[in-house]
Every structure is written in structure tokens, then in C-alpha cells.
């Protein structure tokens, strides 16, 4: 495969380029918790782990992933930890402390931010985290830069002794563009597994207050060294000429370039590669030759505030535009940047002739056909409509959509369980929460301990589909193998819940709706109840069955028996169900159906049947044989 070639040009995703950069830098360890838009970094690293000798792991959460990477760094080896922007919140406790303690082997923390919130709950700007921690921040704008800055990051880390934050955004991580391949690291090329040695250094590694007091000034010393490094390596370039200055970074630089080309105006651009610490002398020198300066950056006025402060300190009187004419929310793009440049130059604003999109049936993200989460939401609503229903981060957040509307809250990873503990007390009522397997292991566990300890009346339904589905099917402790495919313990969530002291624990097959309902009713009779709904991700299961050439059952509607009542559609909202308004009949799209039978189980007229291999119709859908088939799907998934 071309990915491990040592020359030539490959069309790489920004995230693939980061993994590739780490391989070229002879990384020893890549640890991660998956999260869009960062997930492809560990995915690609894991794919080539065996050939390269790099240790790749999916850790149970970002904080653990950070600690695993630090362990490699403190053993004198290069390490990279990757996460989405909000993952750094989880890892922050360790990150902030290690920022004082510093790296030994080069240590890169990759944060993939999501301006515009394409798949996130907020658009926090993690450049601020770099400043908060006192850690240098590199910001690539293209896949090529993503690779180059990854390599530079390791060198910067070793030159200064600091951790380095590589901050990408969705538009960098998820852009594919040509990337020049260079030599792989020596060990990576040989496929050698690296081993390091931890050398005791109590002042550095033991964060007692007396040591931390010694280490804090070190943070400032490292930032100073980072400036030297950036200067010596030619980071932060000035491009073009003119009185009008633009200070920018990352993908925003490309918007600037394109807008200037179309406007036919010239400007002098300061393109920042390392946005923190900011090279004050460079900025002052750049601005002193400009009559006005526009800072083009997504989200927070991070660079702008620093630029203004530098100009103030030096008594330089230069007009600075930034967030006065550019939005502080959402990602930027060509038109926003072009209009800001026009505004700053006093030109009239070009408004594109954008055609109005007519009123259309929306097509938001939706639970897949055959997804067992749908059944859980159906049953939870049926059994207890009045309970508050917190949910969590995963595909199942889509339980919020029409027609399921079966969740009330979603905050952040694992938050459903802690929130439920509080809600049960605050409301004086039972709370019914839903959480996925990976999220349960991520941060649900300590909150469940809390619920048991504080006796919160909670039914926690763990949607155990044996995989981290939403981010692209990464394995987790419920899967039975690791990131690199090694067989590992398959942790049984029900056993864990029992061990933690839950009053009622039951494992059920959510494809069997009556069984699911029974468990939920029983659960309501106890204080802390955990119901584990075990059915693999339908998408993954269908694709694995196809690979094994096993039959995937499909269901059809008997038009003579269908009354067009739409109970199936209104209760389940499965994308494979199609309602014909003229014929007043429901049909099943055979290309989409994955054979879960939920529609057949809820149909009041028994109009939905399984199509048997000989073409005959089987209306009795809930037989022992069918239940055994589902059981097999869960237990022999891989």
C-alpha cells in the first residue's frame, strides 16, 4: 500500500497525514479516544501498527490516553495522543499538570476542533487551552502542513521539553489533498517495537507543591525556547507586499489567498504556523509597516487580542480589524473572509447570488435500519412516559429525533449518569437514562458508583452494541479485541454493574420487544437498576454477515393486511419503512431492511412477515429459532 511508501505524492486526509507525519517522526506510541473529527488518526495508525512496530491503543477515555502517551514520553520515546476538542476537557487535569512537568521524549497532543459544530456539542477554541496550560500551539491549514507540523511538533517538544498542542479543525482533518511523502522513521521502517526506560527524577515527576513551584517557571522558559525554535525553523512567514496587512493562520489563510486573488488587491500576509506563544517582535515589526491590519481567525479573537496588546505596549498606532467585522461563531469561509477584506479596505461588499433552498422534507441524521437503539427508545417510552430521560453522546443521541423523541438531555460524555443521580434527587422521581457501551466505560462508570453510593432511583439502560459505532466502529472494552486486533478480555457490563452494587441487573436482547419491556418494568421496582441491551451495531453486523455470506433476513408488508394506520412508522421511524400516501399502505425498502423485525412486532394487524429463503411468508416472527439467531449475532459477531 502506498501509505508506507517513502516518496511520491498521495492524496491524504488531514488526519491520515498526521498519522503519516508521526510515522516519519519515528513515533513509538499513538493513543486515542475516538471522536469526530479526529478518529481517522488512530484508525490509520492502528492499520499499520503491525508493519511499523508503533504501539497504538484506544484508551477508555482521553485522560487515560493522555497518561499512556506521557508514559511513553517519560520513557524517552516519542508519543502522540489524539482526541476531539472536547476530549481535551476530559484530559485537562493531567494535561495541565504535565504542562508543568514537561516531556522527555517528544510529546504531541492533537486536538481536532470543530468550528461550525458539524458533529459536536460546542465549538470551543482549544488554542486557548495551549495558552491556559503554557504549551506551544501549532495550527496547520492543509493536509501537507498537518504532516509537516506533526513532525515539527516532535522536534519542538524535544527542543524545549514542553508538550506541544497540534490544533486542527474539521476542515483540515477532513480535507483530502496531495501530500508529499518522505522517509519513514528508522524504527518505523524496520517495524521495530521500541522500548524505553523511565529514569527517576522526583522533582520533575512528582507533582508535590514544592516541586510544582520549581516547575512553573520552567513552563515560561520553555515558551521562550519555543519562540527561538520557531525563528530558527522559519515558522510564521510573511507573504506578499502592501500597506494593508492580514494576520492569519490555518485554513483561513487559504480563504484569504483566494479572496485576494478574486478581488485583485494586494496585501501583506503574516501567516502564523505557531500561534502560541506569539512572536511579539515579528508581529510588531509586521504591523509597523502597515496602515491597517485585519486578523482573520475562526472563533475566538485569540490572535487579535494578543496583537492589540503588543501594539499597545509598543505605542504603535495601527488600526486592527478582526472580530468587529468577522463572526465569532461558526467556521469561516470564502465569502465571509472576502467581505471582511472588502470592509477593511472600504470597498463595497460583494454579495453572492445564492439561490433560496425551497421548503423540503428534512433528512437529518437518523438511526440506521435495524438499529437496536430504536427498540430501546420505543420500549422506554412505552414503559414510563413520565420519567425524565437523560441520554448521552453516541448514535443514540438521535433518540431525540422524530418520531422517537425519547430523550430529554445530552450534555457530554458520560454525563447522563451523573445528571440522573442528581435528577432523581431533585425530582424525587425515578429517572431512566440511556448510555452506550463505549461511553459507559469512558465516564459512565464513576457516575454509576455515585448513583449506587448515594441511592439515586435510576434505571440505566446500557445500549451495548459491542463497538464505538458513531465514530466509525472502533473497538472498546466490550468488543473483545484491541485497536490493533489483538484478542483481549470482553468486559461484561452486567457483571460490572453487579460488582458495583446495582440492586437490579438484567441483560436482554432489545430485538425482543416484550422481553425488553419486562426488564424495564422489573427495573422500576428497584433503586439502582441496570438493564444491558445487547445487540450489535446493525450496520456492522450486516456487513460482517455479508462477508461471511450468511443470510440476512428481510421483512415485507402484506398489502392486503396493511390498513395504513402508520403505527410502525410513527412508533419506530425506521428509514426502511416507506408510506405511500395515495395507496395508504406501508412498504419496506428491501435494500435498506436489515431484518430486526421490530416493525413486525409492533404492527397491530400482524401484516409484516419475514421472507423465508423459499419465498414463503412467516408471520409468526418471534419464535425460539429467531431469538437464537439474534443471540448468535451478538455472541459470534467477530
Amino acid at each position: 500500500m502506498a501509505f508506507l511508501d517513502e516518496n511520491g505524492v498521495e492524496l491524504l486526509l488531514g488526519n491520515e497525514a498526521i498519522a503519516r507525519g508521526a510515522f516519519e517522526a519515528d513515533v513509538a506510541c499513538v493513543s486515542a479516544y475516538p471522536g469526530t473529527p479526529s478518529s481517522e488518526i488512530p484508525e490509520v495508525a492502528a492499520k499499520y501498527a503491525k508493519n511499523t512496530g508503533v504501539y497504538v491503543e484506544y484508551s477508555t477515555n482521553e485522560k487515560v490516553a493522555m497518561e499512556v502517551a506521557i508514559a511513553y514520553s517519560w520513557s524517552g520515546l516519542r508519543a502522540m495522543v489524539t482526541m476531539k476538542h472536547v476530549g481535551l476537557n476530559v484530559a485537562a487535569d493531567t494535561f495541565m499538570s504535565v504542562a508543568y512537568q514537561g516531556a522527555v521524549g517528544g510529546m504531541l497532543v492533537v486536538s481536532a476542533d470543530d468550528p461550525g459544530m458539524w458533529s459536536s456539542q460546542n465549538e470551543q477554541d482549544n488554542r486557548l487551552f495551549g495558552r491556559f496550560a503554557g504549551v506551544p500551539v501549532l495550527v496547520p491549514g492543509t493536509p501537507q502542513e498537518a504532516k509537516d507540523f506533526t513532525k515539527l511538533g516532535f522536534e519542538l517538544s524535544e527542543a524545549t521539553g514542553s508538550l506541544v498542542l497540534l490544533r486542527t479543525t474539521t476542515r483540515v482533518s477532513h480535507t483530502r489533498a496531495p501530500v508529499k511523502l518522505e522517509a519513514l522513521g528508522e524504527g518505523v521502517r524496520k517495524g521495530e517495537t521500541k522500548s524505553g526506560k523511565f529514569q527517576s527524577n522526583p522533582t520533575k515527576f512528582i507533582s508535590l507543591p514544592a516541586n510544582a513551584r520549581r516547575n512553573h517557571p520552567e513552563v515560561l522558559r520553555r515558551l521562550n525556547d519555543a519562540l527561538e525554535f520557531a525563528r530558527s525553523r522559519g515558522l510564521n512567514r510573511v507573504i506578499g507586499e502592501g500597506d494593508f496587512g492580514i494576520i492569519t493562520e490555518g485554513v483561513e489563510y487559504l480563504y484569504v489567498k483566494e479572496a485576494l486573488r478574486d478581488l485583485g488587491v494586494s496585501a501583506k500576509i503574516l501567516k502564523l504556523d505557531m500561534v502560541y506563544p506569539l512572536d511579539e517582535e515579528l508581529v510588531a515589526e509586521f504591523c509597523s509597516t502597515c496602515t491597517s491590519v485585519l486578523v482573520v481567525e475562526e472563533l475566538e479573537p485569540f490572535i487579535e487580542d494578543m496583537v492589540k496588546s503588543i501594539l499597545f505596549d509598543r505605542g504603535l498606532n495601527v488600526t486592527v480589524h478582526g472580530k468587529d467585522i468577522l463572526p465569532r461563531v461558526d467556521e469561516l469561509g470564502y465569502w465571509k473572509v472576502r467581505n471582511a477584506i472588502e470592509h477593511a479596505l472600504g470597498l463595497s461588499l460583494t454579495k453572492p447570488e445564492v439561490s433560496q433552498v425551497p421548503q423540503l422534507p428534512p433528512r437529518p441524521p437518523v438511526l440506521c435500519p435495524g438499529c437496536a437503539h430504536r427498540n430501546v427508545f420505543y420500549a422506554v417510552k412505552k414503559v414510563d412516559r413520565s420519567a425524565v430521560k437523560p441520554s448521552d453522546i453516541g448514535c443514540y443521541t438521535l433518540g431525540a429525533m422524530e418520531p422517537l423523541k425519547a430523550i430529554d438531555t445530552c450534555i457530554a460524555m458520560g454525563a447522563s449518569v451523573g445528571l440522573s443521580s442528581g435528577l432523581a434527587k431533585a425530582q424525587g422521581n425515578r429517572v431512566v437514562a440511556t448510555i452506550g457501551d463505549s461511553t459507559f466505560f469512558h465516564t459512565g462508570l464513576p457516575a454509576l458508583v455515585n448513583a449506587v453510593y448515594n441511592k439515586a432511583r435510576l434505571t440505566l439502560v446500557v445500549l451495548d452494541n459491542r463497538i464505538t459505532a458513531m465514530t466509525g466502529h472502533q473497538p472498546n472494552p466490550s468488543t473483545g479485541f484491541t485497536a490493533t486486533g489483538e484478542v483481549s478480555p470482553n468486559l461484561d457490563i452486567a457483571e460490572i454493574a453487579r460488582a458495583l452494587g446495582a440492586d437490579y441487573v438484567s441483560s436482554v436482547d432489545p430485538y425482543d420487544l416484550s422481553e425488553l419491556e419486562r426488564a424495564l418494568r422489573e427495573a422500576a421496582e428497584h433503586v439502582v437498576s441496570v438493564v444491558v441491551a445487547k445487540q450489535p451495531c446493525a450496520l456492522l453486523r450486516a456487513s460482517l454477515l455479508r462477508q461471511k455470506k450468511e443470510r440476512i433476513p428481510t421483512y415485507q408488508v402484506d398489502a392486503a393486511k396493511c390498513t395504513g394506520c402508520r403505527v410502525c412508522v410513527n412508533l419506530l421511524g425506521c428509514p426502511a419503512l416507506v408510506f405511500d400516501r395515495e395507496a395508504k399502505k406501508v412498504s419496506i425498502n428491501e435494500d435498506l431492511c436489515t431484518g430486526c423485525s421490530a416493525c413486525a412486532q409492533v404492527c397491530p394487524y400482524n401484516a409484516i412477515y419475514e421472507v423465508l429463503p423459499d419465498g414463503s411468508k412467516k408471520f409468526d416472527v418471534l419464535t425460539d429459532e429467531v431469538k437464537e439467531r439474534w443471540q448468535r449475532w451478538y455472541s459470534t459477531l467477530f
Binding site: S355, V366, E402
Partner: protein
């Protein structure tokens, strides 16, 4: 020079694979290409949009509104949904086989007429509309919608990217079932 392509459809139809193949083909041809992907909240069933920008210099991967040169829609509703990217002269390639979204099964929201969608798009530029699902099923599997659409798009791109380069990119990107995919590509290209 920047040539802007928008690809849209429903999650699971292979839109991002098609975008990657066009991008790869453009690079084989000696151009710079930036392919933009958005990975959403779910694996399947939601509206999906991807971008390919072919250029002679480094560009971002996002197509600005009102500037698509070519819009390839794998599903008719997802063609009109992204009409904000169209401009005077945009060319369209549309699969006319609908995938009805859940929202159009509930309440009173109605799926619009495919003919109406086609007429609206024709006010911008030429529209190639055909039932790619039917052709795919003739070849043997709905999955070939992807390479059929890619075939027609490639024909419209032939001045910029040669057929050979696209075929090479397909061979590099699709490992399984190459023969049928090539047949599907040819069917699309000949439409």
C-alpha cells in the same frame, strides 16, 4: 483556475468514495485537488455533502455558495437541497431514484415531485437525469449507483480529467468487485 464540484446524497450511498476517486484522478492528471468531507452524527441515512475542488494551486476544500461548476446528486431531493451552491451555468448529474426520508412518512410533509426538481435545476444549467438505481440493479446490486454516477460525472469532466486517470483512481480505491464497478462506470460514462 478552480473547478468546483459538489456531490450530495444520502449517507451510505458512497458519496465520499466518489469524491475521493475524482480527487485522486485529478492529482494523477497533474492538478491540485482538495476533497472536502463532512463526517456527521450517524453512519447512514442522513443528508451528505462532499466537495472536490480541482485547481492549479493550493485551495481550501470548501466550495463557496453560488459557485459550483458541477453538482452530482445521488438522490433527487439532495440535489435541490444544495441549490445554494448552484450558479448560472452549473451542470447537474442526478439520480432520479428517490430515497424517502423518515420525515416524509410522518405527518403531512410530502416528498416533492422529481420532475419539479429537474425543472427547477434546469433554470441554472444542463441537467443529466437518469435512474441510476435501475441500472445498478441490472448490473446486480444497488451499490453500483456510486460508480454509475461517477461515470457520468467523469464524462462531463473529461476536458479536465481524462477517463484513464479516473479508471486508474477507481482501481486504486475500490478493492472488491472491480469488474462490475468498471462495468457500472462504463454504463454511466456512456449515458
Amino acid at each position: 483556475m478552480v473547478f468546483n464540484i459538489v456531490l450530495s446524497g444520502v449517507g451510505g450511498q458512497g458519496i465520499l468514495t466518489a469524491a475521493k476517486i475524482i480527487g485522486r484522478a485529478a492529482v494523477h492528471e497533474g492538478h491540485y485537488a482538495a476533497v472536502g468531507e463532512i463526517h456527521g452524527l450517524a453512519q447512514r441515512g442522513g443528508s451528505v455533502i462532499g466537495f472536490v475542488r480541482i485547481s492549479d494551486e493550493e485551495v481550501s476544500s470548501t466550495v463557496p455558495e453560488a459557485s459550483a461548476d458541477l453538482l452530482v446528486a445521488f438522490e433527487p431531493l439532495e440535489a435541490i437541497r444544495y441549490v445554494n451552491y448552484a450558479k448560472k451555468g452549473t451542470k447537474f448529474v442526478i439520480n432520479t431514484s428517490p430515497i424517502v426520508p423518515v420525515s416524509a412518512n410522518l405527518g403531512n410533509v410530502v416528498y416533492p415531485s422529481v420532475e419539479g426538481i429537474r425543472e427547477q435545476l434546469q433554470s441554472f444549467g444542463p441537467v443529466s437525469a437518469f435512474d441510476a438505481l435501475e441500472i445498478a440493479k441490472e448490473i446486480g446490486n444497488p451499490i453500483y449507483v456510486n460508480t454509475i454516477m461517477l461515470g457520468k460525472a467523469s464524462q462531463l469532466l473529461s476536458e479536465l480529467v481524462s477517463r484513464d486517470s479516473v479508471e486508474r483512481a477507481i482501481r486504486e480505491s475500490i478493492s472488491r468487485d472491480l469488474e462490475n464497478n468498471m462495468a457500472a462506470f462504463d454504463r454511466g460514462y456512456s449515458l
